[in-house]
């Protein structure tokens, strides 16, 4: 690509689109938004094609000293690349999902979404810690507006809760960042990632970062903003919230907490594993008793994120890779599940599970698609969810059999609540006449759901495409963590016996 600043271009396209949308009327705004997001998707594909797998750690770097105190520095590694791809892939879907359902203040709506896209790409591409913070925090503004203006009945409460919760989580992180910048004498993320902070300072810094990322993630017990925000947000808002915004927390941990504070990460490993275990079990059980579809999927997100955090703090390659695949997979699958809810919500304007039933009869295509994503969420082999869960749990197993055991129950519980949801919505007798009269998927809805299904299938069948760009970066991170990695609770003893037994032991160790 030579010197073409492709990352800046990816920021600029939606930004220009956002400004244009603000001043245009409904029809034009929709078209502008769609074009802008598609152009960004195309740029993202170009980015991926040109990404040199196994090449330099940081690629497409740009740096300009535009501001005082911090630099405009962009650049990506494989991890950021994958998350940027996820964002640009989901954005056109979001625009499409709001095509008909949003009728008031369309210009502002599209503008807020495009702004959101700018900020998300910015978060993943920022190579300056303060620039990262700016993008990270600025995302609150458009999301606050999206929930507050276009949300459901209780939108104001949800928007406040979302904003203040996440703001409170992240303000202390800013102070920690300032301390780090002053201590290390640089605000460049790659430089800070290899800087060794004194272990006693790491403890505090880690906690400050954790406060922010745990809220964003969200981890139990600071997850309570998420069900409210999800339920009240419009469909596309939920998609972007579940698809990308929740990944900011995981990305923050993999980019900041782990490489910058390895000792503190090891010190707090049990805190994270403990919270993850609780999250997986408790929120799965909560999901089981929900009557609201969106709330159910929101709680399932918390449970899946619990597996991400457990994988991240397993201190080995499988755990890290699994966590990354889980983030990508969950981004696609839960986004798609929210779309599925949106499809029937648009028809019946209720999220109550009991208002539906037996819609597999009148909406067979919808039922099939919904079933696919239900299975992907459970982690059926062949779908992305399986790869994600298997890798992360394999990673966790190496560090703690108990944690792996508890987290694995999440899969069973996940199957329980998702299948239970599916049975109540799609199967059974058609007790509600209006639900039985709903038409099947429209062309637009096919166009939204099928690409996501294909992507989830691709990730499930051939995950190598997604793992290859990240492999080197995860190896670097793993090497950096190795000095602090806590001891595993499984003490493997190399057997003396027959070759067959040896192979068995090998299989267990890896």
């Amino acid at each position: 690509m030579g010197g073409f600043p492709i990352l800046s271009a990816m920021l600029l396209v939606p930004l220009v689109g956002a400004i244009a949308c603000l001043f245009s009327e409904a029809k034009t705004a929709r078209v502008i938004a769609l074009i802008a997001t598609l152009v960004d998707l195309a740029l993202g594909i170009v980015l991926w094609m040109n990404f040199d797998v196994g090449g330099a750690q940081w690629q497409f770097t740009e740096r300009a000293s535009l501001f005082a105190g911090f630099d405009y520095a962009l650049g990506i590694d494989g991890i950021a690349l994958m998350l940027i791809m996820l964002s640009v892939f989901l954005m056109p879907v979001c625009i499409g999902a709001s095509w008909d359902s949003i009728t008031k203040r369309v210009g502002e709506y599209m503008s807020a979404f495009l702004l959101m896209e700018v900020l998300m790409i910015g978060v993943f591409a920022a190579q300056d810690i303060l620039l990262f913070y700016i993008f990270f925090e600025a995302g609150l503004i458009p999301m606050y507006l999206i929930i507050g203006i276009w949300g459901g009945d209780n939108r104001i409460y949800a928007s406040y809760k979302f904003f203040l919760y996440t703001l409170l989580g992240s303000v202390v992180m800013l102070i920690a960042m300032l301390w780090m910048v002053i201590e290390a004498g640089t605000s460049s993320v790659p430089a800070l990632m290899v800087y060794d902070f004194p272990p006693e300072a790491q403890t505090w810094l880690w906690l400050a970062f954790f406060a922010s990322f745990a809220v964003k993630m969200p981890m139990w017990p600071v997850h309570t903003w998420l069900p409210d925000a999800h339920v009240q947000a419009p469909t596309a808002g939920s998609v972007i919230l579940a698809g990308v915004l929740l990944k900011l927390g995981g990305y923050g941990m993999i980019r900041f907490s782990l490489p910058m504070f390895p000792e503190a990460s090891a010190q707090f490993m049990w805190l994270v594993l403990g919270l993850s275990m609780v999250a997986v079990v408790v929120t799965s059980l909560i999901a089981l008793v929900q009557r609201d579809m969106k709330k159910l999927i929101a709680y399932s997100s918390v449970a899946h994120m619990g597996i991400v955090t457990a994988g991240l703090f397993a201190f080995n390659t499988q755990g890290l890779e699994g966590a990354m695949v889980m983030m990508l997979s969950h981004g696609l699958v839960s986004g798609a599940l929210f779309l599925c809810v949106g499809v029937i919500y648009d028809r019946l304007h209720t999220r109550e599970i009991s208002r539906y039933g037996g819609i597999a009869i009148n909406m067979p295509a919808y039922a099939a698609v919904f079933l696919f994503f239900t299975m992907a969420s459970i982690g059926l082999p062949g779908t992305s969810g399986f790869v994600a869960e298997f890798l992360s749990l394999a990673g966790v197993y190496q560090i703690s059999s108990w944690a792996a055991f508890v987290c694995t129950t999440g899969i069973i519980l996940g199957a329980a609540y998702m299948l239970y949801l599916y049975r109540r919505v799609a199967f059974g007798p058609q007790v509600n006449a209006d639900a039985a009269a709903m038409p099947d998927l429209s062309m637009r809805e096919y166009l939204l759901l099928v690409p996501i299904a294909l992507a989830a299938l691709w990730m499930g069948v051939y995950p190598e495409s997604f793992l290859a760009p990240m492999r080197q970066d995860i190896a670097v991170l793993d090497a950096r963590l190795s000095r602090a990695a806590p001891e595993s609770d499984a003490h493997f003893v190399m057997g003396e016996g027959t070759p067959a037994q040896e192979a068995h032991a090998e299989g267990e160790a890896h």
């Binding site: 603000l22 000293s65 535009l66 501001f67 005082a68 105190g69 203040r105 502002e108 303060l130 913070y133 700016i134 993008f135 925090e137 600025a138 609150l140 503004i141 606050y144 507006l145 507050g148 203006i149 939108r155 104001i156 928007s159 406040y160 904003f163 203040l164 703001l167 409170l168 303000v171 202390v172 800013l174 102070i175 300032l178 301390w179 910048v181 002053i182």
Partner: protein
């Protein structure tokens, strides 16, 4: 020679005072017919003073060349930068006023003259390097301000505001004078250099400590830092809105800059003595400013609490007591002035069809559907005041906390930052009312061009575009802060 040098250094103040006197004569003979001409002339005078000060700021004037009248007055870059902000904010107060007063039939020629004298007083304040010069400047500013607060003579609220301001202001002046006399008694000098020399000589005596505390208390009143903030909401609400805009911007700059100079130039060697006072005032201002604003229905009162809140952040920069801290304080001041002028310019645009000023939350409900441009500008300003990136208000907070962390005031930084979340709540309410609520459609009045231009400029400056100016702003603030003799 000495005299001509000194006169050269006070040239901006000379221009202001002479033009003020001439305008006063015009006003006396010509009457209110001339008020618009006088407004323009006063703007020109402020502009001329601005142009005269600007070069010394850019050049970073400091050292003995900047001392006039045998140490009474310093025209260094620090004073210069504060003066630039004061003149600009005063000019803005002149620009937004005519339309407001015209409608009430109260546009009198004294208004621009009083603003000019207040600006002169502030200009002297920030240049003072002697307690007496300080007091002269402060009183000149305060007396003009008392009159301005009660400028709507027939309006009860305005009269009440003026009276309250006067009584409490006089009390504060008394406290200040008392502190000054104690300081003089225990150090043997009124010039900052003499006080510094005496303070650096050894342990701080109890008398001097009392003097310092009383001086700080008197000045805290002027910047409306907690616990001397009680007058602010009443005066801000009662005073005519253009005057409130003036009070919230220029005198804040002057008093904060003056406080910085007194703390560093006179008591710099005893930073530990005043730092704890400043830290307390900073945290208390942030918290009280935030909590007090939550229940407010009147927008002017809300902005009054917001200004108390912002003073807290300014004081965090001062508490660092380093060059970086003072520079951060100046940067924050500059951003604060822009946000304040912008918010009041927007407030003045809220009129109903008859031209009545609207100033409660109920009036701006659903403003985003009826007046989108105005609502979006206010949204920018409110998020900026809340310190949410990518707006400039965030950057102001960033530099202030940066300085605090650098000075090892970690606990202060963490507490201040956490308390800023409380403040975010009511700024969010502002946005919520404008964007989420059903439209009340009361803001139907004609918009005033001058206000719009001001608002647009402010909105652009605090939008992310403003970040492009940060390099320049920081270098100016650094040279300005560097021109102060920092002890240790």
């Amino acid at each position: 020679m000495e005299l001509s040098n000194s006169l050269g250094l006070v040239l901006p103040e000379l221009i202001l005072s002479l033009s003020g006197l001439i305008m006063l004569l015009f006003a006396a003979w010509g009457g209110d017919r001339l008020s618009s001409a006088i407004s323009i002339a006063c703007c020109v005078a402020l502009g001329a003073a601005f142009a005269l000060v600007a070069p010394s700021v850019c050049a970073g004037a400091s050292g003995p060349d900047t001392i006039a009248f045998f140490g009474q007055f310093r025209a260094d870059a620090y004073a210069g930068m504060a003066k630039l902000m004061i003149y600009a904010a005063s000019g803005a107060a002149l620009i937004v006023a005519p339309r407001y007063f015209d409608r009430l039939g109260e546009m009198r020629a004294e208004y621009p003259v009083l603003v000019l004298f207040a600006a002169l007083g502030m200009s002297i304040m920030v240049s003072a390097s002697d307690l007496l010069t300080l007091y002269i400047g402060l009183e000149l500013n305060s007396l003009s301000a008392y009159v301005l607060a009660s400028f709507l003579r027939t309006n009860e609220k305005s009269a009440e505001a003026g009276l309250k301001y006067f009584v409490l202001g006089a009390l504060a002046s008394g406290i200040l004078l008392f502190g000054m006399s104690l300081t003089y008694g225990f150090t043997g000098g009124t010039s900052f250099a003499a006080i510094q020399a005496a303070a650096a000589a050894g342990e701080m005596s109890t008398g001097m400590l009392f003097g310092l505390i009383f001086v700080l208390a008197g000045l805290a009143f002027k910047i409306s830092a907690v616990p001397f903030h009680m007058w602010t909401p009443d005066v801000y609400e009662g005073a005519p809105t253009p005057v409130t805009a003036f009070f919230a911007s220029a005198p804040k700059v002057a008093a904060v800059a003056l406080l910085g100079r007194v703390a560093v130039e006179a008591f710099g060697s005893q930073a530990d003595a005043w730092r704890q006072v400043v830290i307390f005032a900073a945290l208390a201002s942030i918290v009280v400013g935030a909590l007090g604003a939550i229940g407010q229905q009147n927008l002017k009162r809300l902005l009054a609490y917001s200004s108390i809140n912002n003073v807290g952040f300014l004081l965090i920069g001062l508490a660092a007591a380093t060059q970086a801290g003072l520079a951060a304080m100046l940067v924050y001041l500059a951003i604060y002035v822009v946000m304040t002028v912008g918010s009041f310019a927007a407030l003045l645009l809220l009129r109903d069809a008859e031209g009545n000023q609207l100033e409660t939350f109920a009036d701006i409900a659903g403003l985003s559907t009826t007046r989108p441009a105005l609502a979006w500008c206010l949204l920018l300003i409110m998020f900026s005041l809340a310190g949410i990136p990518p707006l400039m208000g965030f950057w102001g907070k960033l530099v202030v906390f940066w300085a605090a962390v650098e000075a090892d005031l970690l606990a202060l930084a963490v507490l201040g930052m956490a308390a800023s979340v409380i403040g975010a709540f009511y700024y969010l309410k502002f946005v919520k009312v404008m964007f989420f609520d059903e439209a009340a459609d009361r803001v139907t009045g004609e918009a005033d061009k001058a206000n719009w231009v001001l608002l647009a400029i402010c909105a652009v400056l605090i939008s992310p575009i403003g970040y492009l100016l940060t390099g320049w702003l920081v270098s100016i603030a650094n040279t300005a802060a560097g021109s102060l003799p920092l002890a240790g």
